[in-house]
Amino acid sequence: MEEKLKQLHQEASEKVKQSTELKELNEVRVAYLGKKGPITEVLKGMGKLSAEERPKMGALANEVRDSIASAIESKQQALEAAAIEKKLEQETIDVTLPGLPVKVGTHHPLTSVIEEIEDLFISMGYKIEEGPEVEKDYYNFEALNLPKGHPARDMQDSFYITEDILLRTHTSPVQARTMERHGGKGPVKIICPGKVYRRDNDDATHSHQFMQIEGLVVDENIRMSDLKGTLNLFAKKLFGEEREIRLRPSFFPFTEPSVEMDISCKICGGKGCSVCKGTGWIEILGAGMVHPNVLEMAGFDSEKYTGFAFGMGPERIAMLKYGIDDIRHYYTNDYRFLTQFGRAEFN
């Protein structure tokens, strides 16, 4: 009997091993472990055995049965896994094909530049101020120390609506209005972005409409060194830590002293190249200490208060940052242009 069991065990194991499909395996199960199977037959014959042999054979029979069952079980798992594997294999896709396009819009590059500058100054405690694009002559010129008859305010250079109303030629009237609203009390600490207009024919470097962003700080004890420190922070943040700044004397009617700020050329690192015209420096913005006439006209005591102001063109900043060569690109909204600015920049 023992011989028989061992033989059954071997036979069954062999068949399990050879099974390649679940159905076949099930047949093996039924054949060996079923109620009519040989092991049951063997167990039925147990009664003929002696009392000593019976438990021994019983144990052996159980052992054989369990072993076969477990072999079937593991084989079944293996076959099932293989079946799934096969099914999944058939479901294979080409992962290199394009995905479903998701439409994503982007900021206009000028908006990106303006928001970046706004955010930098907000972090230094500035507020954003806005004002009308159609402005009174008074705020656009007179309040900024450009009295009537001043050569810089020629009718030919501005778009007038009436004798006294025009499209603002800079965002400085927002400064004048804001200072006036403060009623002679500091601090004023603002950034003014917006559209401005000048009578220029549109070409690669001129546009009758463009953007400006200006800053103004007025308080007691505002020094020119504060202007320089602020501009230095700004230049490094916007153009990179390794950029140096320099101030050159200049002239604006609304500031005195007036300066222009250059940054060291990013392309050549200051050695001189075609971008910086060999000078190693690139002009970025105009700035200065607020002219006492401007302070006084806005109701500030110019003996007590001082201030600084600076202004720049986002078009130019974006041109320098991204190497854009034609100002008209900003206003034609060519998709081939706009989509180039979809990638975020992390500075």
Binding site: G105, T111, G125, I161, D226, K228, S250, P257, N333, D334
Partner: protein, 804 residues
């Protein structure tokens, strides 16, 4: 302003500083040097030659065979095509091996069988601009004076081996519109003295004032007028060095008299005018305002009509010049002139600016008068001219001047405390340092108990207030020495206003939804200014537009967006999705300024989704754009306050237009561009929207508050309702919501059917209704009750029947 480095050396020692170094220093301390040009750059091996013989080429009418002595053992043969070449001339010869501008190399050549070993040059061929070449040489080769030395370097003789600094002058630095002004600047920067011209010369004992009288009626416009009289002059060319300096400064040489007045203008910044004294007839100068309609023929052979605010120089009878702008033809200096009256005067800037503008004449003279010349140089400039006329026109200068002089020539006194200088700059300069800076500027200054007293010279008309002194000291001291600090004051939090935050949120949402931000022009043409306007009124117009295309301020953003769409379509980009926010401008009765309303607009066309290889293609439609707007309302927290109604706009498809309401007020539209407009602009099916943002900006939604997540199940009931086609889905939805009561949590349309299986003129709308009570499980009866109310309401209010 062009500054010759060699000329500047007359006044300031520049021996150890190169032109480029000087340019850099000038730029850093006050005046931007926009470029440094070396006129002789790229030119080699050009010498002075003597034309020994000149004969017609036997084979060519227009060519001449010249034998030219160039200072070598043998003369060279050169074929020259210039009509004005001739025997005995001293000319500029580019020898074989020479290089001319544009990398033009001179080689041995044969012209119609004759050898040509070099080239006789015109000034243009030596790189001088045609408009600066003296008239007699403008059509041919240049002739040196007879005494020019054969074989010498022609570039040196023409002073082309110079460096020209181009100064970009800001309006305040009119003082640098003269060589002396630049010399003071360079002297201050280099801390070197300035050597002024020596004004010594021999005078004739006759008094100018005995021969000529000067009278000024318009004293406000002309506080000082000096006349010098020079007799027995010989008109001829001015010396080569003077001509070279004029050319370097951008002025064309004419003759010695005119050149000398221009030379002094450049040197002193004082414009002069030379009258032919004999042609003046009356020996009298009367300066007055013109009579309205009075006429004068000016030097450019143009008859000009004068207005009563124009200042004129007259001979007491008729105008002989428009003061400071241009002389009259009737008193012009010509080759036959023998006596001249040299005018040196101060004309009021505003008078000259107006006259120069009225006549469309801007000259070296007017541009200086406009900014105000130095009253203390009126006389020295006149003397300098007289001196040069004795030297270079053999003139006989009469003693003194005939003059009218009521000019205040005193220096402006300005005081500032040292404390203020340092407070404004954020520095700690000492009084000695500040005084030293003014000493270098040759500006008189003294310190007294912490106050600096400055006497601003009249040559520096830009120094008027304390701040001007601060700038003057700081720029010379060097802005590099200003430390970098940050404002020290009470810190207020920075940040965006709620309106600015909303604007940025709108950008985020729309870009996230796939719209590209556009920026278009605010100025537009007559037709487009009125299209798509939410507030229909007359557009704001420019007084003097540059073109009709940009003559009106926009009332709507959509037209320009459509222009941009059309621009892209024409460049093979056919799926476009834009948004733009910005001002539109509304004429407002009784207000100074037009009203500026911020609008938000968008335009989409082409495919919204396109997954080519999967065959998924969704063209844009009304509901794509509506869905995006709904997402925007959701993010702005105003969904429940927005309502769409069937709308009507002139430029939109009559059946596909919605009016958008916010809090019951119409704020915008959404719809398809009218097919006829699409056709006109070559657009494909395009959907647009525009909304006013003001009310949305001003609205403050309730604070966000958490609502408990429901713990009890909801019950869903679907109904399909058959209604007349004209019944709006939104209307039906509202009826359901109103009738459903508090238990009805949501109503969603999930099917729309119009077709064969329904009666003509009917449609079926299927809604999914969700009932729920957050505090308990609903019973069937409760739902049935509410649902019956809904069914009853839709039947009563919209004649809706349940679809069988």
């Amino acid at each position: 302003m062009f500054v010759s480095y060699k000329w500047l050396e007359d006044y300031v020692d520049l021996s150890d500083i190169t032109p480029d170094e000087l340019a850099e220093k000038i730029t850093r301390s006050g005046i931007e040097v926009e470029g440094v040009e070396v006129p002789s750059k790229g030119i080699e091996n050009v010498v002075i030659g003597h034309v020994l013989s000149c004969e017609k080429h036997p084979e060519a009418d227009k060519l001449n065979i010249c034998k030219v002595d160039v200072g070598e053992e043998e003369p060279v043969q050169i074929i020259c095509g210039a009509a004005n070449v001739g025997k005995g001339q001293k000319v500029a010869v580019a020898k074989v091996g020479a290089v001319l501008p544009g990398d033009f190399k001179i080689k041995k050549a044969k012209l119609r069988g004759e050898a040509s070993n070099g080239m006789i040059c015109s000034l243009q061929e030596l790189g001088i601009e045609g408009k600066l070449v003296p008239k007699e040489f403008s059509e041919g080769i240049f002739n040196f004076p007879k005494d020019a030395i054969v074989g010498e370097d022609a570039l040196q003789a023409l002073a082309l081996d110079d460096s020209i600094l181009e100064l970009g002058l800001t309006p305040n630095r009119a003082d640098a519109m003269s060589m002396l002004g630049v010399a003071y600047e360079a002297g201050a920067i280099l801390d070197r003295p300035v050597k002024l011209p020596d004004l010594e010369y021999k005078m004739h004992s006759d008094e100018a004032s005995s021969l000529v009288t000067v009278e000024v009626e318009a004293e406000d416009q002309n506080p000082v007028y000096l006349a010098k009289v020079i007799r027995n002059i010989k008109i001829g060319p001015s010396p080569q060095w003077m001509q070279s300096r004029l050319i370097a400064s951008g002025i064309r040489p004419h003759n010695n008299v005119v050149d000398i007045t221009n030379y002094v203008l450049l040197e002193y910044g004082q414009p002069l005018h030379a009258f032919d004294l004999d042609k003046l007839k009356t020996n009298k100068i009367l300066v007055r305002l013109a009579h309205e309609g009075e006429k004068i023929e000016t030097l450019d052979d143009t008859v000009r009509e004068l207005k009563s605010h124009h200042l004129v120089i007259t001979n007491g009878e008729e105008p002989v010049a428009i003061a400071g702008v241009m002389g009259g033809a009737n008193s012009e200096v010509t080759d036959s002139t023998t006596s001249v009256l040299i005018e040196s005067a101060y004309f009021a800037p505003s008078a000259i600016r107006q006259a120069s503008k009225d006549h469309g004449l801007r000259s070296e003279a007017s541009s200086r008068f406009e900014k105000g010349v130095d009253p203390n140089r009126v006389k020295p400039a006149a003397e300098r001219a007289a001196q040069l006329l004795t030297l270079y026109a053999q003139g006989e200068v009469l003693t003194g001047t005939a003059a009218h002089d009521k000019m205040d020539k005193s220096e402006k006194q300005i005081s500032i405390t040292l404390e203020k200088i340092n407070r404004v700059l954020g520095m700690s300069l000492t009084a000695e340092e500040v005084l030293d800076l003014f000493r270098r500027l040759q500006i008189e200054a003294a310190a007294n108990q912490g106050t600096i007293h400055v006497s601003a010279p009249t040559r520096r008309g830009d120094l008027l207030i304390e701040e001007d002194l601060i700038e003057e000291a700081a720029r010379l001291y060097g802005y590099d020495h200003i430390p970098m600090t940050l404002p020290v004051h009470e810190t207020n939090p920075g940040g965006l206003s709620p309106r600015q935050n909303k604007r940025r949120l709108i950008r985020q949402v729309l870009e996230g939804a796939g719209l590209m931000q556009a920026v278009t022009y605010s100025l537009t043409n007559d037709a487009e200014a009125k299209e798509f306007a939410l507030d229909v009124r007359q557009p704001v117009k420019l007084l003097m537009p540059m073109s009709e295309e940009r003559s009106n301020l926009r009332l709507s953003i959509v037209p320009q967006l459509l222009e941009s769409v059309s621009y892209n379509l024409a460049r093979q980009h056919d799926s476009i999705a834009y948004y733009e926010s910005g001002s539109v401008f509304l004429n407002e009765q009784g207000s100074d300024l037009p009203r500026e309303d911020e609008h938000l607009a968008g335009a989409i066309t082409g495919l919204w989704q396109f997954h080519a290889w999967q065959g998924e293609k969704k063209p844009v439609d009304f509901y794509v754009l509506k869905g995006i707007l709904d997402a925007l309302w959701e993010r702005l927290g105003i969904s429940d306050r927005i309502r769409y109604e069937k709308g009507k706009e002139d430029q939109l498809h009559p059946g596909r237009t919605a009016a958008i309401f916010f809090n019951g007020e119409k704020i915008g539209f959404l719809g398809q561009v009218h097919p006829s407009k699409e056709k006109e602009m070559d657009l494909k099916e395009t959907y647009v929207f525009e909304v006013k943002l003001e009310a949305i900006y001003n609205y403050q939604p309730d604070a966000l508050a958490y609502k408990a997540i429901p713990r009890y199940p909801s019950i869903t009931r679907d109904i399909a309702l058959v209604v007349e086609s004209s019944v709006l889905g939104g209307e039906l939805e509202r009826i359901i919501k109103d009738a459903g009561g508090t238990l009805l949590k949501s109503v969603k349309l999930f099917d729309l059917y119009e077709g064969d299986r329904l009666e003509e003129g009917m449609k079926s709308l299927a809604f999914s209704l969700v009932y729920m009570d957050p505090s308990r499980t609903l019973t069937d009866e409760e739902v049935v009750k509410a649902h019956d109310r809904v069914l009853q309401a839709v039947q009563e209010k919209a004649s809706a029947k349940l679809r069988g």
